[in-house]
């Protein structure tokens, strides 16, 4: 059975993919990650095996790109005492997503997939390769940390 036209995926999910990436990596890196996500998805599209849940499949790729961005940042040497190199503050993004980006990888991924892209824990678990319980736990842990940071 042929998958639907690729454009239909974009019409249905592109906005949420971009929301997820802005939450996961910030506005400055989201555009590149978005382009790379769509490009990888388009290239893989005719041979995909998970046609039953195209939304989760697309977010699996977006999550991989977001992880790449975080790994690249971690490898980048952080200059000591040079504050000018920090990216400019990001507009209308709220302080919370920046805090989410500082959480451990799984909590960060679960919270962005759940609250920026509105994915159910069932799909998040499939994307991260963990159990639904683990996904819920990571969300709860992440939210707890955020509460402590938001209400000192």
């Amino acid at each position: 059975m042929t998958p639907p036209p690729f454009q239909r995926l974009l019409d249905a999910h592109a906005t949420d993919v971009l929301r997820f990436l802005v939450g996961a990596v910030g506005r400055n890196d989201a555009e590149d990650a978005f382009q790379e996500t769509l490009l990888s998805a388009l290239r893989a599209y005719p041979s995909l095996e998970h046609a039953d849940n195209l939304r989760a499949w697309l977010f699996t790729i977006a999550h991989r790109k977001a992880t790449d961005v975080h790994r690249a940042r971690a490898r980048r040497p952080v200059p000591v005492g040079v504050v000018e190199d920090r990216p400019a503050p990001e507009p209308d993004d709220g302080a919370d997503w920046e805090l989410v980006r500082g959480l451990p990888p799984r909590q960060r991924a679960v919270l962005t997939l759940r609250y920026a892209a509105d994915l159910p824990h069932k799909d998040i678990a499939a994307i991260l390769g963990c159990s639904e319980d683990a996904s819920r736990r990571a969300a709860a842990d992440g939210l707890n940390t955020l509460r402590k940071e938001l209400v000192p």
């Binding site: 974009l10 929301r19 555009e31």
Partner: protein, 195 residues
């Protein structure tokens, strides 16, 4: 956690950038014309489909057919069909009598392809008949089969199946309805309004 709201985004510009260059197998766009809105779809070889949007259930079934018969790697990419839009505009404004667009006959079977290629040779303002087109395509006597092939012409207007008439001179049939065939033949000066 009321403050973990989805970030505000507008993907329009990013999607346009993606569609402009992404390696899709099929790019498509909608083109307005005096005979109705058309769905134009092209491959790297050329224009493969120019479908009247209001026949055979609308554009969704047509897009699905393109996905299954060409490739599902399809993008809505109007900028990549600028040539098609421009040549059609010129044709309908009476400034173009021949199309120079490269064509892709991937949606047709070999017999239909021969019939359509013979049809593509009928010049602006001229007409032929189903029998003559069949003979030109190397299948004399196959007028009825030629009619069938032309009835499912995936690239009407550009492959001018509207220029093929019954041997008694009547319009006979058209993929987009007889009213459109009449309109195109009037545009080309073959028919006058009084007919």
């Amino acid at each position: 956690m009321t403050r973990l709201a989805p970030p505000h985004v507008d993907p329009t510009a990013a999607l346009a950038r993606f569609a402009a260059t992404a390696p899709a197998d099929v790019v498509y766009a909608f083109v307005d014309s005096p005979v109705g809105r058309l769905l134009a779809a092209g491959t790297e070889r050329g224009l493969a489909c120019l479908g009247y949007e209001d026949v055979r259930g609308g554009s969704d079934p047509l897009l699905e057919r393109l996905a299954s018969e060409l490739s599902p790697r399809m993008l809505h990419a109007p900028a990549r069909l600028d040539d098609v839009r421009r040549e059609l505009d010129e044709y309908f404004e009476g400034r173009r009598t021949a199309f120079e667009l490269p064509l892709d006959f991937a949606l047709t079977r070999p017999f239909a392809r021969k019939i359509l290629q013979a049809t593509a040779g009928i010049p602006f303002g001229a007409t032929s008949t189903y029998g003559k087109v069949a003979a030109d395509a190397g299948s004399p006597g196959a007028a009825r089969a030629a009619g069938g092939a032309l009835g499912s012409n995936p690239i009407p207007i550009v492959v001018p199946c509207h220029r093929v008439l019954a041997s008694n001179g009547t319009l006979h049939g058209y993929t987009g309805g007889l009213e459109r065939k009449r309109h195109l033949l009037e545009l080309e000066g073959v028919l006058t309004r009084s007919m």
